[in-house]
Amino acid sequence: MAQDPLHVLWVEPHFPGRLGTVADWLVRRRGYRCWFYCHTAEAREHWPASVGHGLQLQVFGVGGAAREQAVAWSRTLERSLCYSYGCWEVLEARRPRPIDLIVGRSAGLGSTLFAPVYAPAPARVNLFDYYFHPRQNDLAAEIAADAPAAYVHWRRSANSIELLDLEQCDLAWTATNWQRHLFPVEYRDDLWVQHDGIATAGPGDVTPRDRRRARRSLAGRLVPEGTRVVSFVARSLERLRGFDRFWHAANALLRARADVVCAIVGDPVVQRGLDVQHNNRDYPAQLRDAAPPVDPERLWFLGRATPGAVAEVLAASDLHLAPGRSYPVARSLLEAMAAGCIVLASDTAPHREVISHGQTGLLADVADPEALYRQALVVLSNLDEHRPLGDAAAELVRSRYAQEVCLPVLAERFSTLAATRGRR
């Protein structure tokens, strides 16, 4: 369906974040003109191509509680409001126009709550990632029972900015059905489920590779012929994404098979406020102290998860492990599937939405600490038999989670929504 290009104001705490990729695609493929307002931005070399060519980046400052290094749990909304206010101040100063649509990703800090004070007419879309439950999902099921009361109080109160955005946006949008079901029942019918897609078509994007080829290399190191590469990818090497489980399984695999190399991509320093015990700490170092690696030479730590590093490791992977807790599906999992990897993931509700056990991947019962290792061993013993899982996974992503499938749907919805409302 042909669509007129829109002028869109985007708000997200960090650029490019999640929406930056979407905005970039809409600029390049649909001729949109975008203002992207954020508080912080990646280094310029990580910006998408459309910055300066249809996508204008604007950083806003924050004041009040948002300037403090950390705030007490009871001040989380106050901090969010400071971000919203900071965004509004720069909108008022810069006065971008026209605006057909406002799209925000709250994520606790990037709310568009006050954007309508500047631009009341355009419709507002909000991308919702997560809704906290006091004792369920992420790490809460494991740590809430022994945590101080303040931990549960924080979780009970942390959804406030999401509730305000849910009430005031015109379109509430979330990426998966599992995420939708996290939200209170009163809001579920209004939450539109549409994944924003992963890049599968570009030169640096993940695509299925011929895994039978002889020569593979990782970060300049040649992978010896006959080696089984087991991969793990996460923004940071943390419990939420199951790095502790991976570590346990990896040690067992290294012990069991001499031909296994584990390729690990991710920042060793945990950057996750949810992990109150390990945030800003080197989690792999703690694991090393507690359970030294069987063979450090076969544990390849490849550093931060840049798109290039991720694509390279997934292209080389024979088995990708994703043993995370119940949390929104990691993009790296979908990227591994898109790359045709055989994926072995924890059997959680969010993973069950994208992986059908035995068809598009494998799921391991996390209640059984050895299940991950046992299934991994079976796969590594007979890669050819399991390769159809990777092929089916790649096909699934191509048909359901590729940007080229998802973003046209998003663009159509944006156009329809913008047509119903005014412009500033």
């Binding site: 549960v152 109080h153 509730l163 009430e167």
Partner: protein, 412 residues
Amino acid sequence: MHVLFLHDAFPAQFGRLGLELKRRHGWKCSFLVQSLSSCPTPTTEMLQELDLHQLPLTVEHRSKEGIPWPQVFGMYLEQCQSVFNALRARPDLKPDLVVAHGGRGAPTLFLKDLLDCPIINYCEYYFATSHRDISYRIDLPPAEPAPFFPRCINAPTLASLVDCDAGYSATHWQKQSFPARFHSKIEVYFDGIDTELYRPGAAPRRIGEAALPAGTKVVTFVARGLESIRGFDLFMQVADRICRQRADVFFVVVGGEEIHYGWDKLHTGSPSFKQWVLNQGDHDLSRFLFPGRILPEHLADILRLSDLHIYLSAPFVVSWSLFNAMATGVPVLASDVPPVREVIEGGANGLLEPLFDIDRLTVTALEVLADPAGFFPLGIAARRTIEERYSIESCIPLIKRFFERVSLRLPR
């Protein structure tokens, strides 16, 4: 049945309700409150018969100046924490039901970690970003937080509403103020007006220390705070015009100088909206009495003296004073706004005129003052409305059934 009521103040909405539930049905009613209210004040019976517990107050809660608006949610969470701590320290308090006032969010957010009983929210109001409540008086000078605060003021209300088992509002209009998605969770039960205290009849013809001259007409205006949301400034404009037309009218204006809602201090730059209004015009204050806040018994006497009660609220929660005046049988001239229209049918049990139309308000008021007997039936009808729909006698049985149903987790 043991009900634990939570409210900042006592008795407010729950004191009389608790007393009636105890006296009529033998229920145990406990209260966890921050302070005793001065409007209305608790009665001796309430203090003697009900189980009162006081929450320790933080410095912020004691502050008369309030806190910056972005910190309101934090204050609410601290209040939730205080309630949690107070109940954790009293494991012997094992209610069958918690009923919590949610004017700015019911402080119940953490109670499910302590109590296994249902929680009911008193859903007083959901603020709008425009065209209602604190955003309605755009005729006043602009205030800096006005575009922002209404967009986040409901955060505590939403958090507690999502979390509770059931809710109730005092009027249909209050219920409709909430997002439609929550309407199925909110029922409508009015608090109940004391029609024994507020009843028609003779009262001493005195105002304060002075006797009222024979033939003097009394016009009343009552609000907890004399502020813009309740139309105090508009009332003074009407009163001035009445003064110029009739020399036999005396005005009794009941209410404190505190500002409870909105931006009056910022609109005016004055700590008292009342004083700001009085400084604006050339008022003949010898014809006004401002007794401040008064006891309910005194208010009932003043209303019985009244020939006309004027109620000029913006679209917001209808004040108890309107119900009290109607129960007393006084003809009421009120602003023609949706929440008032739920209670008053113009020409049937009261009079309605557009809020900002000072001309029409004045003309209608003068018509009533010129012919009190002609408008007497309106007062009779108003009294009947209260007896049938808003009296303690008519409301308590409904609320009791609602509480019982929720406590037993029965379907509606």
